[in-house]
């Protein structure tokens, strides 16, 4: 079986600054992967290159058997790649319900599985219920707290019905029990066959979630393997955990 996501020698620079260098990662369908690294190590840049928000100069990305290079962000979302933004980017003039509607109308519908008009609204409400926001379905996102916005961001990424979901710091600022809720949610998604990549600073969450841990430092991948082994890796300790 071929890998679901295959990143091969990916490189990205901003002017003279090398943000990512020779990144190669392979993920199988159904994996739970943690991606960690200090601030500015290139985690979000990597996500942006995978999802087409930024263009990588070197290397290639294959997803679900097809090359993604040159494809736009919306084509990648339609292909089954979904992500949250580190700083939530809700559609401010649309209600929470309508925020959910967008991926259903545009990403899911493009795969041919068009929900009929009557089905969409209950589906949107279901998604909001999963993250506990169904009570505010008819409100605008401007009134939400930062934590609620993160949940909305996650729900919208789920609404695109992805094969691979990248959660970029979805738990920052959440309480202990909220983190547990989100982790349980991500694990449920994973149990349905969705590959989940978790980018997180909360080590407890990463360690309990991940089957596999990847560490980025200064735009390079320095470790990739079982979480227990990776955190004992001296290079990781020196560069990241021991700082």
């Amino acid at each position: 079986m071929t890998a679901l996501l295959e990143i091969d020698n990916l490189g990205k620079r901003f002017g003279g600054f090398v943000a990512l260098e020779n990144i190669s990662i392979s993920m199988e369908a159904g994996e739970r992967v943690g991606l960690i690294g200090p601030n500015g190590s290139g985690k979000s840049t990597l996500v942006n290159c995978i999802c087409g928000t930024l263009k990588n100069e070197a290397g290639s990305v294959r997803f679900d058997g097809a090359r993604l290079d040159g494809r736009t962000a919306h084509q990648r979302t339609r292909a089954g790649l979904s992500r949250t933004f580190q700083l939530p980017r809700p559609f401010l003039s649309l209600t929470l319900l309508d925020n959910m509607r967008i991926p259903l109308l545009y990403a899911v519908a493009a795969r041919g599985a068009r929900h009929s008009g009557h089905e969409i609204e209950p589906r949107c409400l279901d998604l909001l219920r999963v993250v506990g926001l169904d009570g505010k379905a008819r409100q605008l996102p401007g009134a939400l707290t930062q934590v609620e916005m993160r949940k909305l961001e996650l729900a919208r990424a789920m609404a695109a019905e992805p094969k691979l979901l990248i959660a970029d710091e979805s738990m920052a600022g959440l309480t202990h029990s909220e983190v547990e809720d989100i982790l349980a949610l991500l694990k449920r998604l994973n149990a349905q066959g969705i590959t989940v990549v978790l980018i997180e600073h909360i080590m407890r969450a990463v360690m309990s979630f991940s089957q596999r841990l990847i560490v980025l430092v200064s735009g390079r991948k320095i470790a990739d393997g079982a979480p227990d082994e990776v955190v004992r890796n001296p290079e990781v300790e020196r560069a990241y955990l021991g700082q």
Partner: protein, 335 residues
């Protein structure tokens, strides 16, 4: 309300308007009404790109003039019925809108705005140099005095513009309620998030520029017949450029009703005011109103009315009690 019912209601309103104007029995009403209707089409068209997608088109006059001059060009070749000319004008302006959009919309929004601003100047240069359509001297279009069964020709022109106005309102509302309308709103809010949700932003922006440009061209197509003598300076008039932006922004940009209100209010006031004050003063007032509204009332007249209604409702039930679960889904109530 369903879209076909909506269209039907507006056709009835249109018929009533026509009958009312007919009852007044004065051609001046048709001449003045034509201009107001023309502004309804222009401001609704502008709002499809500007209000729904958040992309500013400063070149309304250019798209309008393209429609008008495509009529002159065809007329020089062979006179044709006006509905055919309207279709031609729409195609020409729509294609130019598509081309401009393709070249500039992949970049930041400001570049599109700047390009449309420059487009008006350049198209005027081209027209002034093009003798076939009259060049800088202008072109005469002799319109028949009467046309059966409408009587005077201006009534026929009025009716065409009335149908265009009803049509453009119906198109705008249809877009608002459709998948396309949701897509446009995401472009206005956050294009990066829109792409990540599967919205093909460039494609949707091109659809918006094409529809918007085409409607403006359609509004311009009958204009040579209305004015009789078309000069570059009248087709590329500043009043079109400024009014088609001022009317939606003063009326309110989030739904079809805003541009309609803006066009009817400002258009009628201008028709009355040109009789009493000079057209330059007239335009100056529009300019000041535009600046005042964008600063003080970002959601236009519609926003002001909604604020007033909400305020009253809140005041009635008791302020702090209602605030927590105030419905937020009303168009235009965006913070």
């Amino acid at each position: 309300m369903r879209s076909d019912v909506f269209l039907l209601v507006w056709l009835v309103i249109g018929a009533a308007l026509y009958a009312g104007a007919e009852a007044l029995g004065n051609d001046y009403v048709f001449f003045a009404g034509y201009v107001v209707l023309q502004y309804i089409v222009l401001s609704t068209a502008w709002n499809i790109l500007g209000g729904y997608c958040g992309y500013v088109n400063f070149g309304s006059a250019a798209f309008f003039a393209l429609g008008a001059y495509s009529t002159v060009a065809i007329h020089q070749l062979h006179p044709m019925p006006i509905p055919v000319l309207v279709v031609f004008g729409g195609i020409v302006s729509g294609v130019v809108g598509l081309g401009m959009g393709y070249l500039t919309l992949r970049l930041r929004g400001a570049f599109f705005a700047i390009a449309t601003l420059a487009l008006a100047v350049v198209l005027e240069t081209l027209i002034v140099n093009w003798d076939y359509v009259g060049g800088s001297r202008g072109a005469f279009i002799v319109r028949p005095e009467t046309i059966a069964p409408f009587g005077s020709y201006i009534r026929y022109l009025f009716l065409i513009m009335l149908l265009l106005a009803v049509g453009s309102i119906a198109v705008a509302r249809l877009i608002e309620r459709s998948r396309l309308g949701y897509g446009f709103a995401t472009i206005r809010d956050d294009e990066m998030a829109a792409e990540a949700s599967g919205v093909p932003t460039l494609w949707l922006k091109l659809i918006a520029t094409t529809i918007s440009g085409a409607l403006m061209g359609m509004a311009g197509a009958p204009f040579p017949y209305y004015i009789g003598y078309l000069q570059p300076s009248s087709a590329f008039g500043l009043d079109y450029a400024v009014n088609s932006i001022a009317m939606p922004l003063i009326g309110g940009t989030t739904s079809w009703i805003g541009p309609l209100i803006g066009a009817v209010v400002l258009g009628s006031l201008q028709q009355i005011a040109t009789v009493t004050i000079s057209s330059a003063v007239n335009l100056l007032i529009v300019g000041f109103l535009l600046v005042a509204f964008v600063i003080v009332a970002p959601n236009g007249i519609v926003g002001l009315v909604q604020k007033y209604v909400q305020h009253k409702r809140v005041g009635f039930v008791g302020r702090h009690h209602v605030k927590a679960d105030m419905p937020a889904g009303i168009p235009g109530s965006t913070p």
